[in-house]
């Protein structure tokens, strides 16, 4: 069980009039922080691989995905995009499809 609290006492201020905007900014910044953590990790990973004789950064730059991999990536992107806009999508298609 954790002893040290993560949250300060007291009510968080609302800077925006629209309900949810303040929470959205928090979520966006947490996502940005997580994105940075991943970016830094990839960078470090490439450096570590490079030190071990695998020129990963250059290899990544020069890498051309196979046609099969391109299809896989295209599907992954489509899924991600659909998830990103899933709430908007609800407004223009039946919910249960």
């Amino acid at each position: 069980m954790s002893v040290l609290p993560l949250d300060a006492a007291g009510k968080r201020p609302a800077f925006f009039d629209e309900p949810g905007m303040d929470q959205l900014v928090s979520m966006m910044l947490e996502l940005a922080a997580e994105l940075w953590v991943v970016k830094e990790r990839v960078f470090v990973l490439e450096s570590v691989l490079g030190q071990q004789g695998m020129a990963a950064r250059d290899a990544v730059e020069a890498y051309v995905p196979t046609p099969e991999e391109q299809q896989t990536l295209a599907a992954m992107r489509a899924t991600m995009t659909a998830q990103l806009f899933r709430t908007l999508a609800r407004d223009h298609r039946p919910v249960n499809t």
Binding site: A8, A9, E40
Partner: protein
């Protein structure tokens, strides 16, 4: 980038946590430099003219400015991002400290006596309300584990992220700048006993020991956890200092026992009534010829309404309830309330000692104090503000 702590209580955060701290620190740098500059421009170009038209006069007070800015979308994002960044500072360090705590305690015990410093706790001390009732600057956990150095660790590690490079490599730029200002401005003044009131983990306390080798340096705070940490940190750094759990408004030291009473970023955490009590106590424990010197935010009366509003953001949104009431005071009058004579008042601004050559700093201390919108504000052109008084 967060500053890496340079002593034995340093916590080894996992790589992902360090990356998160990098991000938060950079985010704060962006908010405090880029967004702040953008917000001021937005005020000057759009908000202020509209406000002047509505009022039939220019903004006269920071409340005029604040009321107008509250409706501005840029201000909302600035505030929202800054508030979140503040929360993220603490959240980026607490889990690592929690995990490291047992081992940190063992290390603290191993190093705390290395430099000949001491720790004197007072379990019977009544903690003042400004400490028990508020998580100041949104720092959680001050009272969660008082028998451990945890709160000190949260503050030290948090400041390493929070400072975003503005407080020096060892997070002691305030203490180093203030102590060196006094040493260079008043070379004949040779204090033997120095007190730092509200010292937390002793970042700025030790700066006095470094500036005046041979002086006996004492730090007081009401919170036991930060003092445990301060004691061990000083031991690890090899600097002797004596830490006491004590309330600055009611000092246990005899009359005329110090040559310097110092505080930094301390007065704005107290009610005006308590500041006056502290100044009266400082006057009592100072020897004749001794100096009260406080590093603080500049007074509102020296600033334009927008700059007043900008600095008092912390009062409205960063759990700093006493901030503005303090900054609204007439500082010379405050020292007079403590018993110091009007003509013995002193105030100054200094550049950042640890970021410049010693010789350049020595020249800078002879320039007159200029207070403007950059004074005391964490930004690229930062100058610290100090004030106090000599005791006759």
């Amino acid at each position: 980038m967060p500053m890496e702590l340079l002593h034995d209580l340093k916590v080894s955060h996992p790589q992902d946590t360090r990356a998160r701290q990098d991000f938060v620190s950079a985010l704060r740098g962006y908010v405090l430099n880029d967004m702040a500059a953008g917000m001021k421009q937005r005020y000057q170009q759009a908000v202020a003219p509209a406000l002047a038209q509505r009022l039939g006069r220019p903004a006269a007070t920071q409340d005029d400015v604040h009321d107008a800015m509250k409706g501005d979308l840029f201000f909302k994002f600035y505030s929202s991002v800054r508030y979140n960044a503040q929360e993220m500072v603490w959240r980026s360090v607490v889990p690592g400290i929690e995990a490291a705590l047992p081992e940190m305690q063992a290390r603290a015990v191993a190093v705390q006596d290395r430099a000949g410093g001491t720790l004197t706790l007072d379990p019977a001390l009544d903690l003042p309300e400004n400490v028990t009732e508020i998580d100041v600057h949104l720092m959680p956990g001050v009272h969660a584990a008082p028998d451990t150095p945890a709160a000190g660790a949260i503050y030290d590690n948090g400041l390493a992220v929070f400072s975003a490079g503005f407080m020096g490599r060892e997070l002691n730029d305030i203490g180093m700048s203030m102590a060196n200002y006094i040493a260079k401005k008043f070379p004949d003044f040779r204090p033997a006993d120095i007190l730092d009131a509200g010292c937390t983990v002793g970042h700025n306390t030790l700066a006095w020991a470094q500036t005046y080798p041979g002086a006996r340096v004492t730090g007081i705070d009401v919170a036991s956890s930060v003092l445990r940490y301060a004691h061990a940190r000083a031991g690890s750094l090899g600097i002797a200092a004596h830490f006491h759990q004590m309330d600055a408004t009611s000092l246990a030291f005899p009359d005329a026992s110090f040559d310097v009473v110092f505080s930094s970023m301390f007065l704005h955490e107290m009610s005006v009534k308590d500041i006056k009590r502290f100044f009266a106590e400082a006057h009592r424990v100072l020897r004749p010829g001794g100096l009260l010197v406080n590093m603080e935010l500049p007074p509102n009366q020296a600033l334009e309404p927008y700059d007043q509003f900008y600095l008092d953001w912390d009062c409205y949104y960063n759990a700093e309830p006493y901030y503005r009431a303090f900054r609204d005071q007439d500082y010379p009058l405050l020292t007079r309330a403590g018993g110091f004579a009007a003509e013995d008042y002193l105030q100054f601004t200094v550049p950042q000692y640890t970021y410049m050559e010693d010789s350049a700093f020595a020249e800078a201390v002879h320039r007159p104090a200029t207070i403007d919108g950059e004074t005391g504000r964490l930004s690229a052109s930062l100058q610290w503000f100090g004030f106090g008084a000599w005791k006759r």
